[in-house]
């Protein structure tokens, strides 16, 4: 099987690889680049565990071929921490608000929430819930994930996070 040479920027670093035409982006990230933070959940474009940021869009990396990402700029969960290694506001939010239990959906949730907050820095609870509607969590019931994103939004906006009354 002839392979195709591709290059892209992943988490700020230029990377390259040889891929089969049918190689999915998620497999390239996990197997060629060893970036296993991006998870494979349903494999049918429903669960969002494989979400990464590509050229300013949240994309399910199981539903795109690696060679379609040739020349693109990708951020994965491995690129989300601050430059000094400390937790970014979203990561801190998930930690502080108990936004995860098993953690399987968390990389996809954080990558989706990252783009959501870039597009809408002060989302309402409804906007957060609709914004993460392509990401499935089977543990939390979403309540604390929403709070984690609200925490991050407050932190990014430099205001104190106040938990809404139940």
């Amino acid at each position: 099987m002839a392979k195709t040479h591709i290059t892209m920027k992943v988490n700020g670093a230029e990377v390259e690889g040889l891929v089969e035409q049918r190689t999915l982006l998620v497999h390239f990230l996990r197997e060629n680049l060893q970036l296993t933070g991006t998870h494979i959940g349903c494999e049918t474009t429903h669960c969002g565990a494989c979400t990464v940021d590509i050229d300013g869009m949240s994309v399910k990396s199981c539903t795109m071929f690696a060679l379609q990402a040739d020349g693109s700029d990708i951020t994965t969960i491995e690129g989300m921490a601050n430059a000094d290694g400390s937790l970014s506001p979203l990561q801190e939010g998930f930690r502080m608000m108990h936004g995860l239990q098993c953690g399987f959906c968390t990389p996809g949730m954080i990558m989706r929430a990252h783009r959501l907050l870039k597009e809408n820095p002060s989302p309402s609870e409804e906007e957060i819930r609709m914004g993460i509607s392509g990401n499935i969590c089977r543990c939390t019931g979403y309540q604390n994930i929403v709070k984690a994103i609200q925490y991050a939004a407050a932190k990014i906006n430099g205001v104190e996070y106040k938990e809404a009354a139940e």
Partner: protein, 287 residues
């Protein structure tokens, strides 16, 4: 899950894409957003020998006004439709429907052209295009042609599109100023295909319906135009009796599949309710 092997092509012009499709024959499939085709390939329900990726063709994107029509390039994504002020102003029903398609990630990749060309009865845009009286621009080896959305759908996944043709744009006549509109979609959860959905575009004059068009999604193997239902409300003030007549006329042409979304009787029943709600909400918006 990994798709079967295929050869990948990335033409940079419509002419090259058409040439590839006609040279490679039925083994070739055009690839738009890929959010229907790629999952099908992973499940090995589709095993094309060649993919002709349309992402490299710059001319297939964009929204522009051409006289009294809005022309939307086939590779324009649902996300781009939702970001467009032009669409918000001229065709707000497209916003209402697009935001109900799948989820944010899918809308970043999923395209209007793919949605209307695939022939999936569950897709939301086809019934909307029929309701709006849209036309599809097709390019093939023998030149280009226009097909009305109403003449395009022949059966589930069967359309007027020939294997070597590409749907390049959708042309939608501007609805009348002051028109009312609504897309009512019942679904089991966010992101699902419709259990039943109805699109309504109407105009009101003196408290009565002057013109009306009604489309139905996922209630037949093709999208439907409910012409008799629309006729039943013209000249009425959408009183209870007229609404009931319209819902019954719409239900009479529905033939949904019985599936996980419910038995036939249920889907027809809620289909009638979607028609009623869409009519009422559209009338509230008309001025």
């Amino acid at each position: 899950m990994i798709p079967g092997s295929f050869d990948y092509h990335r033409p940079t012009s419509v002419a090259d894409a058409v040439k590839l499709l006609s040279t490679l024959g039925e083994e070739a499939r055009p690839l738009a957003g890929g959010h229907s085709l790629v999952p099908m390939m992973k499940l090995r329900l589709a095993t094309p020998g060649h993919l002709v990726d349309l992402h490299g063709i710059a001319g297939l994107k964009g929204i522009l006004q051409d006289g009294n029509r809005i022309v939307i390039g086939a590779m324009t994504t649902q996300h781009e439709l939702l970001q467009s002020n032009e669409i918000a102003k001229s065709l707000p029903i497209l916003h209402e429907a697009a935001v109900l398609i799948a989820d944010p990630q899918v809308r970043y990749r999923g395209t209007l052209g793919g949605n209307v060309a695939n022939g999936d009865p569950g897709n939301d845009m086809p019934a909307l295009m029929m309701t709006l009286g849209a036309a599809y621009h097709l390019e093939g080896p023998n030149g280009s042609r226009q097909v009305a959305a109403g003449d395009f759908y022949q059966g589930a996944y069967f359309t007027a599109l020939e294997p070597s043709e590409i749907l390049t744009s959708v042309s939608i006549p501007l609805p009348a100023a002051g028109h009312g509109y609504a897309y009512e979609k019942l679904k089991r959860k966010v992101g699902d295909y419709a259990t039943a959905a109805a699109a309504v575009v109407l105009t009101m004059a003196g408290g009565k319906v002057a013109t009306c068009s009604i489309g139905l999604t996922n209630l037949h193997e093709t999208p439907l135009l409910a012409a008799d239902a629309a006729k039943a409300v013209i000249g009425t003030s959408l009183d209870a009796a007229s609404l009931k007549k319209a819902a019954s006329a719409a239900e009479a042409i529905m033939a949904p599949a019985a599936d996980a979304r419910g038995p036939v009787e249920y889907r027809k029943h809620v289909g009638g309710i979607m028609v009623t709600r869409a009519l009422q909400r559209a009338a509230e918006r008309a001025h």
